[in-house]
Structure formats: structure tokens, C-alpha cells
């Protein structure tokens, strides 16, 4: 293994750590205080990017699922599963930090507004994906069923987005340091940077999770081989 590959497990976490520190610094010190909501709005910098990554992770699951059904390589299934698990973690972050932001600002823990509702539906689809995997015994069947679910779920997400937005209207959030509408331009750089922080976090978690999935398959193969040898 080249020195580059050997040092990756150390470099990546270091870069991630640096990015997280920079992101936190940006969220707390660089970004301006929101005019109406005050400092509690800073939750946004680690809430919204988590949401974006949760949807991206499921898109990865969808693509990997499709590739599995097409190429039949178990690696795609491992990637799909890993991405679903990591995505579920990010989705949970959104669903917990959202109410923690909503409560002091709008006086209510939960609102059935479009984006929160959609994230809840995504969370439920993620949970069903993980449950289906747990409730199938045969490895091949598990991979096939999850792949079908991954594709159906990924296709669904866009339609859920359209229908829930139609039903409720967009996030009524206007973030500003002074007057105006939309995301205040002073907040934009921190927000964009935090998206990259989450992207890096996703990459690092996948880098740990995918080999675990492959190792599980290797373990199963070894067990099979051992059982076959003993029978012979």
C-alpha cells in the first residue's frame, strides 16, 4: 500500500476536525446575529446542511441500489446500506435540531410545514429500508429487496417534495441580519462552508462504514467455507 493510502485514515479525520472547528467558529463568531430570532438561529448552520446531506445520502442509496440490480455486485449493496445508515443519522439530526430551533422562535415544537414534513417522511422511508434489511434472512434476498426499496424510495423523494411543498407552501423562513428577504448574503459563506463540513463528515463515515459491510460479508463467506469443510 502506498504511503498516501496508509496515511489516509489519519489525514481525513484531521481535515474533518479542522473543518468542523472552522465551521463552528463561523457559525458562532463570523456569521451575523439574525435580526428577529437572535442567536438561536445559529442552529441553522448545522441543521440545514444535515438536511441536504440526508437527501444526498439517500440519492446515493438509490443509485447504488440501481447499480446492484444491474451489476449484481454485493459491493453496491454494501454502499447502499452504508449510505442509508449514515443518512439516517443525518436525518435524525435534522428532526431533533429543527424543533429545538422552532420552539424558541415560533413557540411550537413541531409544525407540519413542507420541509420538516418531508424530512420526517424521508426518515420513515430510511427506517423501513433498515427494517427490511433486518427482517430478511437470505443475503441475496436482502440485497435484492433493499435495492428495490432503495430505488422506489429515491424516486419517491422528489415526488414527496413536490406534493408536500404544494400542500403546505415553502419554509416560511426568512433569515436576515438586517432587512431584506431570503438568506442574508453575510450568512451565505458560513452556510456553504458547513455544507462542505457535512460532505466531509459523510465521506469519513462512509469510509468507516463500507469496509465494515464488506467485512461482514467476508465473515459470512468464511463461516460458509468452514461449514463446507467440516461437512466434507
Amino acid at each position: 500500500m502506498s504511503t498516501f493510502r496508509k496515511s489516509l485514515p489519519y489525514i481525513l479525520p484531521l481535515i474533518l476536525f479542522a473543518m468542523v472547528v472552522k465551521g463552528l467558529h463561523g457559525a458562532f463568531f463570523e456569521a451575523p446575529t439574525e435580526a428577529q430570532m437572535g442567536d438561536v438561529q445559529r442552529i441553522f448552520y448545522f441543521h440545514a446542511p444535515a438536511g441536504i446531506m440526508a437527501f444526498l445520502a439517500f440519492a446515493v442509496t438509490g443509485v447504488a441500489s440501481f447499480l446492484y440490480l444491474w451489476r449484481k455486485s454485493l459491493l453496491y449493496d454494501v454502499v447502499a446500506h452504508a449510505s442509508a445508515e449514515v443518512g439516517l443519522v443525518f436525518c435524525t439530526i435534522v428532526l431533533v435540531t429543527g424543533p429545538l430551533w422552532a420552539r424558541p422562535v415560533w413557540g411550537t415544537w413541531w409544525t407540519w410545514e413542507a420541509r420538516l414534513t418531508m424530512t420526517l417522511v424521508l426518515w420513515l422511508i430510511y427506517v423501513s429500508y433498515v427494517l427490511v434489511r433486518g427482517y430478511t434472512d437470505d443475503r441475496d434476498q436482502q440485497a435484492r429487496f433493499s435495492a428495490v426499496l432503495g430505488i422506489v424510495g429515491a424516486l419517491d423523494i422528489y415526488i414527496v417534495y413536490k406534493s408536500v411543498t404544494w400542500w403546505r407552501g415553502l419554509h416560511p423562513v426568512v433569515l436576515q441580519a438586517s432587512g431584506g428577504g431570503g438568506l442574508d448574503p453575510e450568512m451565505r459563506p458560513v452556510f456553504i462552508f458547513c455544507i462542505f463540513v457535512y460532505l466531509m463528515l459523510y465521506a469519513c463515515l462512509m469510509a468507516i462504514r463500507v469496509p465494515i459491510g464488506c467485512a461482514e460479508d467476508e465473515l459470512a463467506r468464511l463461516r460458509e467455507a468452514l461449514a463446507r469443510r467440516r461437512r466434507a
Binding site: V40, W101, R103, L205, L226
Partner: protein, 50 residues
């Protein structure tokens, strides 16, 4: 406005705790699977060749 720091603090703490717990679970799984793979590989080596 200032007294909302409780929510802010809880939100960020939750994120890090959740990620730490997840990471801990992953590392634990990694170790146990590695151990079992090593055990089984050894058993496979020690089986009489037929």
C-alpha cells in the same frame, strides 16, 4: 433573546453526542468483526486438509 442559549447549546450537544455514539458503535463493530474473521481464518487453516 439571550435565554435561548439553552436551545442552541442542546442542539449542538445533541449533534456531537449522536455522532460520537454512532462512531463508537461503528468502531466496536469493526473490532468485533475483525476478531471473528481472525478466529475463523485460524480455524480454517488448522482444519485437516482432505
Amino acid at each position: 433573546m439571550k435565554d435561548n442559549f439553552g436551545y442552541l447549546f442542546t442542539a449542538y450537544t445533541f449533534i456531537w453526542v449522536l455522532l460520537a455514539v454512532y462512531l463508537g458503535i461503528l468502531m466496536g463493530k469493526q473490532r468485533s468483526i475483525r476478531r471473528r474473521i481472525d478466529e475463523l481464518s485460524e480455524k480454517l487453516e488448522n482444519l485437516p486438509k482432505n
